[in-house]
Symmetry: C2
Subunit: 886 residues, 2 copies
Amino acid sequence: MVIPSSSVAKADIAVQSSKKVKYVYSFDEGNKNMKQILGGKGANLSEMTKIGIPVPFGFTITTEVCEYFSKHKDYPEGFAEQLQEKLRLLEVKMVKKLGDPVNPLLVSVRSGAAVSMPGMMDTVLNLGLNDSTVEALAKKTGNDRFAYDCYRRFIQMFGDVVMGVEHHLFEEAIDKLKKQRVVKMDTDLNEEDLKNLVDEFKEIVAKNSKKSFPDNPLEQMKMAIEAVFKSWDNDRAKTYRKINNISGLKGTAVNIQSMVFGNMGDDCATGVAFTRNPSTGDRDFYGEFLINAQGEDVVAGIRTPMEISKMAEMNEDLYNQLLNAKDVLEKHYKDMQDIEFTIERGKLFLLQTRSGKRTAQAAIKIAVEMVEEGLLTKEEALLKIDAKSLNQLLHPQIRRGATRNVVAKGLPASPGAASGKVVFTAEDAMDLSVDKNEKVILVRKETSPEDIAGMHSAQGILTARGGMTSHAAVVCRGMGKCCVAGCTDIIVNSSAKKILIGDLVINEGDIITLDGSTGEVMLGEMEMQEPELTGNFRTIMEWTNEFKKLQVRTNADTPEDCKVAVGFGAEGIGLCRTEHMFFAEDRIHFVRQMILAKDENGRKKSLEELKKYQKEDFVKIFEVMEGRPMTIRLLDPPLHEFMPEKEEQIQELANDFEMPVEDLKLIISNLHEINPMLGHRGCRLGITYPDIYKMQVQAITEAGIEVQNNGIDVDVEIEIPLVGMINEFIYLRDVVKETISSYGEKVNFRYKIGTMIEVPRACLIGGELAHEAEFFSFGTNDLTQMTMGLSRDDLGKFIPIYLDKGIIERDPMAGIDQEGVGKLMRVCVESARKEKPEFEIGICGEQGGDPESVEFCHNLGLTLVSCSPYRVPLARLAAAQAAIKN
Amino acid sequence: MVIPSSSVAKADIAVQSSKKVKYVYSFDEGNKNMKQILGGKGANLSEMTKIGIPVPFGFTITTEVCEYFSKHKDYPEGFAEQLQEKLRLLEVKMVKKLGDPVNPLLVSVRSGAAVSMPGMMDTVLNLGLNDSTVEALAKKTGNDRFAYDCYRRFIQMFGDVVMGVEHHLFEEAIDKLKKQRVVKMDTDLNEEDLKNLVDEFKEIVAKNSKKSFPDNPLEQMKMAIEAVFKSWDNDRAKTYRKINNISGLKGTAVNIQSMVFGNMGDDCATGVAFTRNPSTGDRDFYGEFLINAQGEDVVAGIRTPMEISKMAEMNEDLYNQLLNAKDVLEKHYKDMQDIEFTIERGKLFLLQTRSGKRTAQAAIKIAVEMVEEGLLTKEEALLKIDAKSLNQLLHPQIRRGATRNVVAKGLPASPGAASGKVVFTAEDAMDLSVDKNEKVILVRKETSPEDIAGMHSAQGILTARGGMTSHAAVVCRGMGKCCVAGCTDIIVNSSAKKILIGDLVINEGDIITLDGSTGEVMLGEMEMQEPELTGNFRTIMEWTNEFKKLQVRTNADTPEDCKVAVGFGAEGIGLCRTEHMFFAEDRIHFVRQMILAKDENGRKKSLEELKKYQKEDFVKIFEVMEGRPMTIRLLDPPLHEFMPEKEEQIQELANDFEMPVEDLKLIISNLHEINPMLGHRGCRLGITYPDIYKMQVQAITEAGIEVQNNGIDVDVEIEIPLVGMINEFIYLRDVVKETISSYGEKVNFRYKIGTMIEVPRACLIGGELAHEAEFFSFGTNDLTQMTMGLSRDDLGKFIPIYLDKGIIERDPMAGIDQEGVGKLMRVCVESARKEKPEFEIGICGEQGGDPESVEFCHNLGLTLVSCSPYRVPLARLAAAQAAIKN
C-alpha cells in the first residue's frame, strides 16, 4: 500500500477543498435527506449514526463520482485524496489499519443508489484480507476456521463480482472438496480444508481471469469501487430500472464500512426484519435471521432462516435491543422500516434501514393505523402509499367459497391470485406470454436477477426455496404480482420440466393456480372474484375526497363496467365509446348493412335498427349513473374495422347479404387505408355521413328523455372525436344541436356539446375551440401517437431497441410525455382558459390512471381525469397526493 | 312603385344615420382602396368618377350587405332606406326616374367582389323596362327596334339569371322565329318580331318559373339584387374560389348603374381592352370591340370581335378619347389596366377598370418596362408580379427547331405548350386525367363556367370560337395553362367526339399538341424543352437578390436536377433524399439483399456495394454544386417500400435470391405496418440499423474528400430525419460524428450535422435540439400530416367533401397551415433561437414553393426555403416580395 507523502496530500486538499466538490462523506457527516448523492443506504447509515443507533463506522462515496466515472471511465480530480482522508479517519476511529499485519481493518463495499434496487447491485464483504491479514484475524479472534472461512468467501465474492470469474467454478470446487471429505455442509469443512480452498480459489481466479488475485488491500478496495460503479450499468441493473421506470439518477454511491461478523460462531447472527408485516400491514415485528451466517445468506434464500420471534426465546436481551432500535427507527422515520442487522459476539449492529417495501394492502393498513397512532397526519399518510401499488388490491382473488384443490403450500409472499400454464424458464415465460398471449406461472427453485424479464411476463411466481424476503418475494411484491415462495412441498426438476409433489407430477403446460395471500398452490384454473372497496381501503379512499381537486371519472361502455366504477368511487363517465356497442354480435350485422347500403334509404333503415340498440344501452347506463356526468363519444373508428378480415368470414358475409363475394372484397379493399390512424375516422366520418351521428344523438336524446321522465337525473356530455379544425367542430356541433332541438320541449335533461382533443392541431387552436365548445377531453392515446409520430401498433419493431440503447427510459405510451405532449396540452389549456376561465377540461385514456400523469393533470389545472374502472381508486389517491404535494 | 311618405323616411334616416353602418355608396363617395366593402368593380367605378373619367353614374351596395344576407336570408336594418336614398340621388342626377312612363331610368345590376372572378357572377342589363317604359324608350330614342331588342334581352337575362329559367328555352324561341322568318342573324329580326318575342319570352318565364314576369321596376331591382347575392354561393362561384384559393371575403357588392347603350345603332359600340398586351407585355393598346352590341357579346365570345386598332380607322376622335383614358388610368393606377367601355351615339363611357390579368411573361415585361419608364420603383415592380404565375414561364415549351406538323391555327390565348389525348367534355377530362393519370387536351366549341373543373385537369384547352378575352382565354391565363382559342379552322363535333379540319378527322383519344404562345395546333406528341432564365426574367430575378432575406435552395437528388436548379438561381440544396438513389434499377438489388441479409456479414457486404454507388452520386452532385451548401438527408422511408408488391415480382425476387417464395412473403409481410407513416422509418431505422447510416456517411465523407482534393469546395449538411426525442438525435449525431472522425485528418471539407423537424414533438423540444444540432430543416409535408392527423394518402375520401361543405377552403397540403402547423413552427423557432440566436433553420417540401408559405417563413425569421428546381424562381420572387412587404 503506497501512501503518498502526507504533507503533500494535505496541502493539496487544503488548497483545493474550498473550490472542490465533496466526494466522500463519513457516516457522521450525512443525513437521510442526502439520498441523491449518498444513495438510500448511505444516507440512512449516516442518519442512524446521527440518532445513536449502533452502526459500524464507515464512509460513503457519492453518486456524483459514479456519474463522472460512467462518463469518463476515470475519477474526478481530488477524489483520490478525499478517499484517502476518509479511510484514514475510519482507521483512526476503529483503531485498525487496512492491510495492517497485526490489527487489520476489514471492510464491506456495497452499492446503494438513491432508489433501492434489491438484488441488482454488487457487494463485496471481508475486503482487506490477504495471506498476512488473515493470520492476524485468526490470531485476534482465536478462530482460524472463521478467519479462513472469511478469506475463502472474500476470494469467491471478489473473484465473482470484481474479477468476473464465474460463480459456479467456486461452488464446484467446494462440492468436490466436500465429496473428498465426505461431508454435507459447508460448516463441516475444517480450517485445513478452508486453507486449501483459499489456495484453490486463488488458482481458479488466476486461471480464469488471467490475473493473480490482488493481495494489496488498497488495490482490492479500488478494484471493488470500480466494480460497483461498473455494475450500475450492467444489464440486470438496467433491466430493473427499465421495468420500474427509474430514471434521472446520477448513479450509485459506494458505502465502505468496517466489517462486523455474524459468522464468528453461535453467538453471532445476521438477519433482516420489517418493523411491521410488509404483506398484511399488521403491527408485528416481522423478520428472519440465521445463526452464524453472513448477511448474504439470508437474502439469497440459500438456507431457510428462522422467524425473528424465535430470537426472544434464544436471547431476550438481544431481542429487546432489536425491538428498541425498531421503535426508535419507526418513530424517527415515521414509516415502516426494512432493516438489516448483524450480531457479533452478542452485540447488535444495524447495517441498513430503509422504507420497507410493502403490499398495497399493508401500505393502506399501515397508513391508516399510523394516523390512529398519531404518528402521521392524513396528508402524510396518503403520501406514504404508492398509488401504483393499489393495482395489487384491484387484482382478482379466488372466488370466495370456491372449492380449492390444494396440492402444496408455501409462503404467502405476494398477494393476489393467478392461474396459468406452468413454465420453468424465464425465456419460456416470455415466449408463451408475449408471443402467444398465454397466461403462465413461472416455477423456479429460486429466482435470480436474470429471471426478471420472465417474472414480469408471468401471472404469478412459485419457488421451492427462499423466504419472505427472498429475491422472488421482494421482486413480486414490487411488481404487484402474486407469488408463493419457499414451497418446500414441491421438487422442481427444471431440466425435465416437471414438478413433483409426492407422487403427483405437474408437467410443463399444465394449469395451476396460486393464491399469494395464503401460499396455496392448486391444480387447474379457478374462478376469480373482483376486488371491493372495504375496511381500511375505504377509509383511505374517503380521505382522498378531503384533498383532491380533480374529479375522477371512468372510461366505461357498458352498464356492468359503470357499476364497478361507481363502486370504486367514479364520479362520472369520462369516456363512453359508442362504437363498442356496435361490435356486439347482434348489432354488427346492422353496422355492416349500413356500410354496404347502396343508397340513402338502405342506410337509414340500418341506422334505424341500430338506434334501437343504442337507445336501450344508453337507458341502462343512465340508470346506473344516476345523474352523474357522462361523456359520450360519437363514432370514432374507421369503417373498415367493422368489416371481417378472414376469407371465410367475408364469404359468409357475402352470403348473408346475397352479394357476389368479389363485390364485397372490392368494398372492403376500398375501405382500406394506408395510415388508418390518420384517415377517414372520427369527426371525418361524422361530416361525410352525418346520418350516423344524427342516429347516435337521437338515441342519446330519446334515452335521456325516457330516463329523466322516470325520475332519474341524466347529465350528458356529447363528445365529437378527432377534431382538428374549428369548422369541423362547428359543423357537427350544429348537427348535434339541431338533432336534439328537433325534440323540442320534450328535452328535459342536461347536456353539453364538446370535443376530444387528440389531434395536435386541436391543441394549437384551443382558444378558438373553447369559444365554440362546452368542454374538452384530452384523448392522450392518440395525441401522444400523433405528437410523437408513433403508431402504437407498429412501435414493437424499434421501441425495445430504444429501451436497450437508453434512447428512452420507458414505454412512451405508459404515461403523459410531459416534455412533448404535455407542453402541447399546456398550450391548449392556457388558451382555452383565457377564453373561458372555468372551462371544463379533462383527460381520458389509460394515462388517466398513471399517478405521475394524474399529478401532471392536477398541476395543469384540469377539471377531471378518467381511467378504466379498476384504476379509479389509484387515480383518486394520485389526485389527492397531487393536491397535497402542490 | 310605392315610395313611402318621404318625410317619415327621411326622419328615420336622420335619427339612425349616426349609429348606422353605411350600406350604399354613390359612385362619388368611394375610392379604389375600398375594395373590401365596395368590391373591385365598385371601388374602381368610384375611383374613375373621382378622377374625371366618364362613367355612367350609379351606386354600390356593400359586400357587408351580402354577408348579412348570406347569414340571415334578409337585409340589415336601415338598408332599404339607404337604397332608396341613393336611388333617388341617381334619379336626380340622371334626370330620369325608375319606372317613369315618360323618362324612365334604366340600370344595370352587376356583381363585383373584392377579388375579380370573371364569368362567375351574374349580371342583369336594361333593368327598369316594362310594357310602359319600353314605349318611352322607343319614343325617346326614336328606335322601336332598339327598345324592343333591349326589352327582349332584359326578359331573357332576367328570366335566366334571376328567375332561373333555362337559357336555351329563350335561344330556341329565337331560332324558331328566325327559321319562320327565314333569316340568319338576330339583327335581321325586325321590331315586330321582337315585340312578339317579348310576349313569347314572358310566356316562357311564366310557364317555367310559375311566376309572371315582374313589371314593377323596383320589384325587378330588388329581385336582381337578391339574385346577385345568392349567386355568391352558387356552385360555379364556389368552385372558382376553391380553385383560386380565394377566401376571407365578405361576399359580393352590387353595382347599380344607369345604362348606356352600345347597341343603339352603328354609332354605338362596346368593347374590352388592355392598356398593354396581356399575353406578351408589349406596350401596345390591346383590345377588341363590336359595333352595335352590348358588353356581354364581347366577353361571351359569341361573335368574333374586331381589333381595337381598327377603331382608329373608323373614328379617330373616339379612338383618341379611348387612348387618353387609357393613359390616365395606367398612370393613375401605376399598373396595366383591363377596361370595359361602351360608346353610345359617339360618346365614350368607361364601365369598368381593373388591374389586368396577364401571363407571367407579360407581368415580367410590364414590371421591367414600368421601372424603365419611371412609373414604378423596383420594389413596387416586384410586388406587381404574381409569384405563383411564374409557374407559367417554367412550363415546358416545344423544343426549338422541332418539325411542327401544324394542322390548324387559332389565337395564342395562353402561353406554354402541351401534348395530350383529345377529349370533348369536362367529365372525360377529369376521368382520364384524375382517374387514369393521362394527359388530356380539352377541345370545346367554347368553354363556359361549368367546364372549370375539367379545364383544371387538362394539360391544355383548344376552342373553336371566342377571342383573346373569351372565357377559355381568361381562365387559362389565370390557371397558367396553355390555351389556343378561336381556332376557326376546326369544326368540333362533340356528340360524335370528332374534330374536323377539312378532310382530316381527329378522334377522341388521338394525341395533339398545342402551342399557346403561337396558337398552333399540331398532330401527335412533341418533344418539349425546359425553360430558361433570360431577358426580363433574368432582370427580375437579379432584382430579387437585392431585397430578399431568405436563402433559396432546391430539393434535388440527381446531378441533373441540381444543374437545373442552379440555373434557376438555387443557392444550395435544401433536401437531397438519399433513398431516391436506392430505387434506381442497378441498386435496388443490393438494397433488397441488405434487407434480406441473414446476418451482420451479409448486410455489410450489400452495404459495401451500395456505398460505391452512393459515393459516385455524391461526387457528381458535389461537382455540380461547387461549394454551395447541400443538405443530405439520411435514409428515411420504411424498408418495405424497397420490396416488390406484385405476386410475379416477388416470385422473381425469390428466384434471384434462391429462397423459397413463402419465406420471402413472410419477410415482406413482417415489414408491413399498420400506420407506416408513424412506423419504423427515419431515424428509427438509423438507430435499429446504424450500419446503414454509417455506410451513407462514409459515402458522403469519401466523396467529399475526393472532390475537395480536386479543388472543388464541398459544404455538406448531414440531416437526420424523423427525430422526435433528444436522445434519438444525440445517438445518431454521435454515430455520424464518429464515422466521419474515423477518416481522421483526411477530412478536408465543411460539414454540419442537423435534423429535420417533421414530428410535432420535435417542435416542442426545439431549444434542446438546437443545443445539440447545427441546423434544422422543417419537413412541412410530414409535419402537416402529423399535426393535422391527416394522411395525405388517405385524405381523398373526405377532403373533397370538406371542400364542398366549406369546412376548409383549400387542400390542407398546398401551403403551410399557419394557424396550426405554423404555430408549432413558431414555438420551435423561438425556443431554438433563444438557445442559439443565429441558428440555421430552413424549410423543405413543396410548401417551400408556395408564395404565401414563403412569406410566412420570412416573417418567422427562417434562414432558408427549399423547393423543387422549377419553383426556385417563384420562391426567389416570393422571398423578395415578403422582404419588401414586411
